[in-house]
């Protein structure tokens, strides 16, 4: 039955899976290929994928979660990674818990760095891709839009993002301790990953004068460099570039080290020992850890930057409690909306609403008509009831019809919005005659 559809979420994040596995799961070629491979799956009614450097998550609407899950995992990761290999690292949520998890992710409560703002942008990009691929429909559209507004609410009502913490923030903070002032310093991006891009943007707003981009494929480098009004170079030119730049952010997908200690040592004399600050956010590492041993050279990888960010952790955790409350509230609201998507409560609510309207209007007219006999009153009531029934006949028929052409939930949604049932339920729950009774009937109709 279409009505027993549930929202399910499966995924891995920095807490459940090692970097190496996350790296293999990540969708390096963008969302289009994996979304395309899901489009044919019957088991999935709706789906959406999120891939960042700390998490890979899949949200889908289905009737049989177990079947849908294995179909999805096979389509996405087989034969490279089997379901059995993944299973110990996967978390899975369904229904209310899935909604809650998604909201927590959007509000950056589940991030490696709680409160960082990058995740929302990543979520929006992921959603846009899924929507374009027609993976999201009524439920996921609503769910993700809700997730964005939850994130916004958390951001404005709590101070969780106040210290704007993220890898980029940590990079700027450390850069200041090394260079004193970032004004006029030059940055080099090796590899054109999203994290590096964000970090570069952050550095630019803090006074860095130019960003050079080195990439394996020059096209991507040129495109990114143009965005920063910088210069694009090939990977082979990196050692040469080290003479001019001050901050280097490396994030290539290369399997081996791309810069070794000796190469860096070689440039130090040429740059008169001016400090070099390397940030390695690539997994696996791009930069030789021994680089940090050189004088006036500082190398940080993701885990090290974490230490910088930990400094103001306690503050953020206090605010996180507030954020959790907001999320709990929003999850409840979403649940109510979801429940209303079932046929029975919608029919009852619709009937009640139309009858109430008709009754109100007849009562007004009855007062003016000055009816004396009970028979007259009864006739008027009958007429009102008949009117209500006639008005309801077609919408109810439309709701109950077993047509494959338009999905049940779309139909419910259409009727609900034409009759403004959600507005009434949300704004005046106590006045809405069925709001209280609409709860536990999920999946029954």
């Amino acid at each position: 039955m279409a009505n027993s559809e549930t929202i399910a979420l499966i995924g891995v994040n920095h807490k459940t899976a090692p970097l190496e596995l996350r790296e293999r799961l990540a969708f390096h070629e963008g969302y289009e290929p994996p979304l395309a491979s899901l489009s044919g799956l019957e088991e999935l009614k709706e789906y959406y994928l999120l891939s960042t450097c700390n998490r890979v998550e899949m949200v889908f609407v289905c009737t049989d979660t177990a079947k849908a899950r294995s179909a999805l995992l096979t389509a996405l990761f087989a034969p490279g990674i089997s379901e059995d290999e993944l299973a110990p690292h996967l978390y899975q949520y369904a229904g209310k818990e899935a909604v809650e998890h998604l909201f927590r992710v959007a509000a950056s409560l589940d991030s490696m760095v709680v409160g960082e703002a990058q995740i929302l942008g990543q979520l929006k990009t992921a959603y846009r891709a899924a929507a374009q691929a027609k993976g999201t429909r009524l439920i996921l559209n609503r769910l993700l839009h809700k997730a964005f507004s939850v994130a916004k609410r958390v951001r404005t009502e709590t101070r969780i993002g106040a210290s704007a913490v993220s890898i980029s923030y940590a990079a700027v903070e450390l850069g200041r301790k090394i260079f004193g002032d970032l004004t006029g310093k030059k940055a080099l991006l090796i590899g054109a990953g999203e994290m590096a891009e964000l970090a570069a943007e952050h550095l630019l707003t803090h006074g860095v004068s130019s960003v050079t981009v080195a990439n394996r494929t020059l096209e991507r480098a040129v495109a990114l460099a143009r965005r920063f009004h910088g210069q694009a170079v090939g990977l082979a030119e990196v050692p040469e570039q080290l003479g001019q730049v001050d901050v280097i952010i490396s994030s290539t997908g290369a399997p081996d080290l791309i810069l070794r200690k000796e190469e860096v040592r070689g440039v130090m004399r040429g740059r008169r020992n001016r400090p070099l600050f390397f940030i390695d956010i690539a997994v696996p590492r791009d930069l030789d850890p021994a680089i940090n041993e050189l004088d006036n050279v500082y190398l940080y990888d993701i885990d090290d930057l974490q230490g910088v960010v930990d400094l103001n952790k306690a503050d953020r955790e206090r605010e996180a409690v507030k954020a959790e409350r907001i999320i709990a509230e929003e999850v409840l609201k979403f649940e109510r909306w979801l429940e209303n998507l079932e046929t029975t409560p919608t029919i009852r609510q619709l009937q009640a609403q139309v009858e109430a309207m008709v009754r109100l209007e007849t009562a007004k007219t009855a007062n003016r008509l000055n009816l004396h006999s009970e028979a007259d009153q009864a006739a008027l009531d009958r007429m009102a009831q008949a009117l209500a029934n006639r008005l309801l006949a077609n919408p109810l028929c439309y709701l109950k019809a077993d047509t494959r052409r338009i999905g049940l939930q779309e139909r419910i949604h259409l009727v609900r919005s034409v009759f403004a049932l959600d507005e009434i339920a949300e704004t005046r729950p106590e006045e809405s005659p069925v709001a209280s009774g609409a709860g536990p009937e999920r999946g029954k109709a």
Partner: protein, 274 residues
């Protein structure tokens, strides 16, 4: 009158102590009002000490930069002077704590040394003596400041290299600021040291008839001057900086201080008579 100048000395010692305490409180608590108080205390102590020198000059009839008590005290005052002039130019976070502690240490040393007035013997008396002594001590003050910058640099560099973001990381200034401090103080200090050497040699000519006589003080002074000259040269030509420069300035400072106070104790020389 002696007791009056000594009273001023004691007053400045007490004020330096309070200033150092206030700077320490600021270091741990990071309250801006405390820093203002500390700076005011330090400046008051500095002024009171200057008055003390004036009083001693009036009493003794000679420039009071001769005995160990006087030179230590003048060294401390010179360090305060360097610090206060640097404060105008650029701010280095929490430099005050380190400077005030060193000043306090020097003042305590001065307080323990004999404070008798010893008039230099007529052969050594010359117009060059106070000039040589004050220039050299001011040079030491700047070089000591360079050393403090170096020490702070080494501490901060350690936290950044080892990625231990504890107490020091947030309280110490940026590496760049510390390196600049080291560089600036070294440049001024080295120039003053050179002038100190020249005036010292002129004084030797007047007192003994020879510009240079290879006695222990002169030899050690030349050694430390060469060390500083080497550091100065490396900084300007190959861009030595950071950890190496910081270590070097600390070693050179130790040698310079040994030249002045250590050699006097170990060998006999002109400075030995103090």
């Amino acid at each position: 009158m002696t007791s009056f100048s000594f009273l001023l000395f004691l007053a400045s010692l007490a004020l330096y102590m309070l200033a150092a305490a206030a700077y320490l409180v600021f270091f741990f608590k990071e309250q801006t009002e405390v820093r203002q108080k500390a700076r005011q205390l330090f400046m008051t102590a500095f002024t009171v000490q200057a008055l003390g020198f004036a009083a001693r000059y009036c009493t003794g009839g000679y420039t009071p930069i001769a005995t160990v008590h006087e030179t230590l005290s003048f060294f401390a005052w010179g360090l305060g002077c360097c610090y206060l002039t640097l404060c105008w130019r650029f701010s280095v976070k929490n430099l005050g704590v380190f400077v005030s502690l060193l000043v306090l240490l020097l003042m305590l040393g001065a307080a323990l040394a004999s404070r008798d007035l010893i008039l230099p013997s007529p052969t050594l008396q010359s117009v060059w003596l106070p000039i040589h002594a004050s220039l050299s001590l001011l040079a030491y003050s700047f070089l000591a400041l360079a050393g403090i910058g170096g020490l702070m640099y080494l501490l901060q560099e350690r936290t950044i290299k080892r990625k231990q973001f504890g107490l020091l990381y947030s309280r110490l200034p940026s590496l760049e600021a510390l390196d600049k401090l080291n560089h600036h103080s070294l440049s001024v200090g080295f120039a003053l040291l050179t002038l100190g050497m020249i005036t010292g040699s002129l004084w030797a000519k007047q007192a003994h008839g020879a510009y240079w006589s290879w006695n222990p003080t002169e030899t050690w002074a030349l050694a430390s001057w060469l060390l500083y000259a080497g550091l100065f040269h490396q900084r300007f030509t190959v861009g030595w900086r950071g950890r190496r420069a910081a270590w070097f300035s600390l070693v050179a400072l130790a040698l310079a201080i040994f030249t002045f106070w250590g050699v006097a104790v170990l060998f006999a020389g002109y400075h030995g008579q103090f």
